[in-house]
Symmetry: D2
Subunit: 388 residues, 4 copies
């Protein structure tokens, strides 16, 4: 059986990175439903993120999105975070919201647009220098909508060239995390549609290029934990973007649609050493809260990841390996399910109390009155959203 | 073999309805790429639609979307259309773009919101009275994002109540067309997710309630032509929303992603009498042109539907039935494929010339200089889009 | 909060029907892996099923499959069951394993084949008369592999005719349960591909025709609990075929692939009164154990359904409805998840002990020595499988 | 515009490899429908394959499947082929039809089973030495059905070890082609589920290890032509297994389900030089004819691949690149569609006549009387099928 003290230690030291854009307005192509109290600038996003960390104790890092989180003085932004007990994390580039990018960014047929996109990526590394961020997270909306629209391999060549230029610019302690996505917003080809494409590029770039697994970016039926295990085996798993989906890239709260899948993914992480800080696997949330309250939704997601992690850590690996080795299908499955079927909420409550936290993060947040305060105070200005 | 004169007559009399919103800006949740020359109001949309009809000869009807196409005087709008040789078609309701509709419209838990949504639907029937439209097309974005969020059957009850009230309001020559969609913008449950749900409601409502098949609204692998055939058998096929998809509801140009599927669908229509005007099947386009030029994209889509129709009409039904009856799998398939593999573009060129049209609609449109004119003239104002 | 005594009572009175074919050999098209000790005839299948009931206390009924379970004397078979504390359940017809059925059974273009298939279905009702079975379960492998192969609507006509003849033959206390399936073994069209088709036929047939939901028979992304709720609302849910799938109709143990989905389905059953015996909803397993030990696999599946049922019964419906009514998305979701996250194994252990059973069904079965006995004794003869 | 003489030359020199198992009985897990006249041994399979080549002129190579095609004297088998104007092609291994392989072959937890599987693979190379075959085609049914059943990465280690041993055994002119498949017969994990996994292994093995793309082995929505283009760019496309699918691995005739997709795939082959013999891309059929006549089904598939190839060769690449370079989405798409919409059957009839063949391969085959002859003569013996 797993040693409970080690399980608790692992849970206490877990770091779940929350996304600055998870605190702003978001929606679907049909409608963005604005919410009261939403932040108006990156500083207010950090204020909200600090509330999540205060309630959960495991969310001390915040991902930025450029240009949405562009500020004059990134040192001041980092200081604002530090004052609230949190820090700045990955820098996410954005080369999909300018009219120039209609037919692509770094893969665009026009070299002028490619240059503009590359300059933005290099600017993101400048920002990382200023914020002390380790990770540059690259997601490209690039692709085509119609057969024949552009040449698949010409676009790969352009992509490789841009990635190479960015990789060359990285500092010794910086990494490039390359994200893949099956489709949307491109509907015929996507230039980095699957882990294989991201892996092939990262392999050529070098050790500081790694793959990001967004749990909502796969075709129906694709086994995500297989990919996670394979990338860990190859030393190429840079991190996760956690969220939930029933259909496409629904971007619901992590753990909300298929908690068993989240557990299976984290079981592979645990079994293959991915929770060890030296492997550098980053655990980020990347969600789009369309109808639910923002801060409580992030808290709930953090808790869901925590619960799945706790279950993954409770798997009796010795018993599992013994059953696997003897070819006992039902016994091996039963070992895994025993951990999954355990109610880990009491254990997590204990872990929180030992850290001096309220055992119930939702109640903790409610007790702060923060929600009422931001609704009252954040009046006027422009609410943050996907375009700001 | 099919009689060529009858095929030509059918092609000449075909009516493909184009959507007013297909002429405005549209996009994905990531970005709307604005285009030059896009209409600023419903009148300009009709001007563009008239160009499509002038070039193709088979697109004399335009679907409206309320409130996007709300005007002071619908009689004047109809007159504007008539002056340009076209007419107003289906009225599409919109109960998904108001903050009140965050949790649903006619299925919302709050009766006040339901009332508001119902009032909008009834207003749409008022508009139909004014425009002389036959069809009220209902698509509901209603659904839930999270398990437990709301009660599936309570929402069905509310839906049934609203549909009943609208049905009761319809005039003797008016119809209600109920559209279904698997998902988006709702990601856990959708209140009308499949044809079965739409069919069950229409059956209870009565003969003037019929189902609309949007070709992009199904789960992967669902056989759309089966649904089309089944609904025709039951007298419940009200019409189509044509568009293309590779993944989800991509809303690409009709016939662009799977022209063979479009042919199979129209083969079922042809074989089951669905092209006969008295069946009332409406052939609409419903697309979202994100990156391609609007008017030429509609023209291309109209041509794609025409070509698939021509192939469907060329199927040798006598030979097909003989092969089917004798259980000759390969021969029956070959009969169908013979029609599909035929290049029908010469036939359609002939049909157009016999109508006094340019055999090449794309060239015809280019020759008008319309595109240059609207780019030059439509300066200032607010471009039409999904929110206007 | 749900009353614990009522929850326990519901769990004690639950009836899960196990399939006779679940005890025989099965496999994929690539290979059937035979197992030692597998039954050689229907009597031995009942012996195995009795072990499952002895271990779990909730599996007293066994589904038959004709012709796989054809015997001379069905009264004797029923007596054999009764002596072992179990009884015969639904009769499953089989019109897919004769060379005549290559192009269909009741939908075959040749009336001779249709007659043969219909005669088999009527024979199944004769068997029901002899066994006292209430339910005739109809699954048709009928469909086509190639576009054009046969006429979709002609096949619907033939299907309707056969169903009508069978319905007319049913006794007053007998039901017809019509199953749908997206695909396999037919790969282009399936004659009953979805719940809508099954529902439409059942509606025309009358109240004793109802729909069966097999949890493995849907397209990716289809929300099964929506269908379950809708059919319950319409009084048309006849029962379930439980099994698990990651991809297609994988026929894995119930609850193995997505236990949260199984819970959501049973939550709809619980909320809409489907556990009440008078609704007549049948809870069957329908699985294909390719690599795991048969009897323990059935026990595990029964336990998985029990656990999901217990969680569904523990949902605090008052709290849920309050949160739903107030539009509190996160609170409503949390009520549901509270029940799901509960470890119900102690409760079920208690329920078993109160019934005089071993709290651990797997251990109970192992203690009987049955497995060793059948391996030793069932030597020679022909092992039961999908063709026998 | 493409030069017609070059197009004809390319069509004349095309080589489509047909599978020996395509001439035997096959089916689904539900039923194998035997056909009259089916071969009883590998020699008779070659006789049938020779008929396909005689009718089409482009199918001179036959893939073998070991052990299904095991014979005493492979030299004699090769001579039998040569006498009929054809030759032996790829050797396909089979490590999935022995009871030992229930939990895997080269990835099995038991080293004894792994050794047995490896020995079979090495035997296949021995056979290649005897037949003069260039390609060893490896498909592994290996995987797991239940979460926890076995360790994903331990299985990868075992797989890598076996592949390395086989690669080391290959002669200088021999290749290893590694096939991937999403699922079936394994339903939870598959050890080579996607092109990324196959690519990563082939990259480590060396230049003579390449990836095979089976058009039926992907998740819904996966863009196969992207994979084809990418593998060609990396020099890692070894060949194709052509067949059609609507849902899963349906193994229907090539080009039957989505002819536009087949065209798009072959367009990438043409554009990226994949038809040049020196690239070594192999074009195989891999189908499972459940209900249609075997030899005519292979002929139809060969013709479908020919027609898609002809359309791909007719794409005006200069015009395409010009439109792509200028970002004209609709023009670029139109160039591609012009080729696709062309009826290439007259061109192919011409090509056949220039080779001295009947312009209509189906009629050519019928005129031989071969079908009647094999039905009359192949009486008694055991028909070839997936297990023989």
């Amino acid at each position: 059986m797993p040693d409970l003290a080690r399980v608790k230690a692992a849970l206490t030291s877990q770091v779940i990175e929350t996304p600055s854009w998870g605190y702003g307005n978001s929606g679907t192509r049909f409608k963005v439903f604005a919410q009261q109290g939403v932040p108006r600038d990156p500083y207010e996003k950090l204020d909200d993120a600090a509330q999540v960390h205060a309630a959960t104790g495991v969310a001390p890092v915040v991902s930025l999105h450029i240009p949405w989180d562009r500020v004059e003085d990134y040192g001041a932004l980092a200081g604002h975070a530090a004052e609230r007990g949190i820090r700045l994390g990955a820098v996410n580039s954005n080369v999909f919201q300018d009219d120039d990018y209609k037919l692509g960014s770094v893969t665009h047929p026009d070299p002028r647009v490619r240059r503009k996109a590359l300059d933005h990526l290099l600017e993101c590394v400048d920002i990382m220098d200023a914020t002390g961020s380790r990770d540059l997270k690259l997601w490209f909306a690039d692709g085509t909508n119609y057969p024949g629209q552009d040449d698949i391999n010409a676009r790969q060549d352009r992509l490789a060239e841009a990635l190479g230029a960015v990789y060359a610019r990285l500092g010794a302690d910086q990494r490039m995390l390359l994200e893949y996505k099956l489709f949307e917003p491109a509907f015929y080809t996507t230039d980095v549609p699957d882990w294989g494409t991201a892996y092939a590029h990262c392999l050529k770039l070098g050790p500081r290029a790694q793959v990001v697994v967004d749990t909502g970016h796969h075709a129906p039926g694709v086994n995500i934990e297989f990919i996670v295990a394979f990338l860990l085996r190859e030393g190429k798993l840079g991190g996760f973007d956690f969220n939930s989906r029933f259909y496409a890239d629904d971007d619901l709260m992590a753990g909300a649609a298929d908690p068993f899948q989240l557990f299976r993914i984290l079981h592979e992480v645990a079994k293959n050493g991915g929770f060890a800080p030296e492997t550098g696997v980053a655990f980020l949330l990347d969600q789009c809260h369309n109808i639910e309250a923002k801060i409580p939704a992030v808290i709930r997601s953090v808790m869901n990841v925590q619960e799945a992690t706790a279950k993954a850590l409770l798997v009796d690996l010795d018993a599992l390996r013994a059953a696997q080795g003897s070819g006992d299908v039902l016994a091996a499955n039963a070992v895994l399910m025993d951990a999954y079927n355990t109610d880990v909420r009491p254990l997590l409550a204990e872990v929180r109390q030992e850290q001096g936290l309220n055992p119930d993060p939702v109640a903790a947040y409610r007790a702060t009155g923060w929600q009422e305060r931001i609704v009252a105070e954040r009046v006027g200005g422009t609410q943050a959203g996907w375009g700001a």
